[in-house]
Amino acid sequence: MSIVDAAADEAQQRRVQVTAVHLRLGALSGVVKDALLFSYEVACQDTPLEGSKLIIEEVPVAVFCPHCKERRVLPSLQSFTCPECGTPSGEVLQGKELEVFALEVEE
């Protein structure tokens, strides 16, 4: 799993032991939180991350509303319209993240 590879690589560069991986997961990343949590332990087996925890921060979709000229967080993926004024807003500013944000480590 690429998440384990990325985290293991970062850990190795810093010569640290990882106890937890913090992941930022966008609602539009195409990846499902439960599936990641379910497979994480297996993916970590026989890697330097074995025994570590996966902590997922879900990132909602934010769009730019062309009418309000403001950044707006969408309550649902089924409606790309501004929650304030109802204008269709397709310009995605946030929500595609799949990022290893931080590592909890022991020296």
């Binding site: 970062e10 937890a20 539009l28 990343s29 195409g30 790309f80 931080a102």
Partner: protein, 226 residues
């Protein structure tokens, strides 16, 4: 033992794919080839649509296709009937194409000899959305038999695509396909998305879509900054 501490790393998990995709996009631009990828669920008519596209473009353009599938070379064999160069990428158990697979499938092709390259992704409406393949245009296909609310069920893939193509329009009456409802579903997840409605079988609506592709190729070839 010391206390655990938090180190910020901010590493994009798909960075390697994105780097490879950027390299491909640059390679395509230099070669002057316009690259179109196709995503859809299984059975939406991607292969028939692509076969028709290749056949109709051939008199005017040099075209080729890569086709991704879990197993079998059936799609490549079908597409080869169009007489265009076609190469299969068999992914085994992997449910999507990645940029590195496209790169290795193209390693011995001279892209300068092409006007259009089509990449048919594995039939799947979930995973392909996360992987950039370096394409210039991503089409998402849905057939009239799949139900009008497909876009709202799979907003991520519709959001990652540039253009929607509604296929199998010859069956629309039989399945009582509600075009307005489908259009609203697309608009709700991707406002302003360019949409084509066509039938690869009868050819209805194909011309508009082919004209659109020709225009996009011409745009790409206009030198920038002159």
């Amino acid at each position: 033992m010391s206390e655990p501490r938090l180190v910020e790393v901010r590493r994009n998990v798909l960075k390697q794919n994105d780097i490879t995709a950027r390299g491909l996009r640059e390679q395509f631009r230099k070669a002057g080839v316009f690259v179109v990828s196709l995503v859809s669920g299984p059975g939406s008519g991607k292969t028939t649509f692509l076969e028709k596209t290749l056949t109709l473009l051939q008199p005017r353009y040099r075209v080729a296709a890569l086709v991704g599938d879990l197993a079998t070379e059936n799609d490549a064999i079908r597409l080869a009937r169009s007489k265009a160069p076609v190469r299969q990428i068999t992914t085994g158990t992997l449910c999507h194409l990645e940029a590195a697979m496209v790169e290795s499938a193209l390693h011995d092709w001279d892209l300068h000899q092409l006007d259009f390259l089509f990449i048919e992704n594995v039939g799947n409406l979930v995973c392909p959305s996360s992987y950039d393949l370096g394409e210039n245009l991503r089409l998402v296909l849905m057939s009239v038999t799949e139900g009008e609310d497909k876009p709202q069920k799979y907003p991520t893939i519709f959001n990652s695509a540039d253009v929607a193509v509604i296929t199998k329009n010859e069956l629309a009456a039989a399945v009582e396909f509600d075009w307005e409802k489908a259009h609203m579903s697309i608009e709700s997840v991707r406002p302003g998305m360019r949409t084509f409605r066509l039938s690869a079988k009868t050819g209805e609506g194909m011309q508009q879509y082919l004209d659109f592709l020709s225009a996009r190729l011409a745009e790409q070839r206009v030198p920038v900054g002159n």
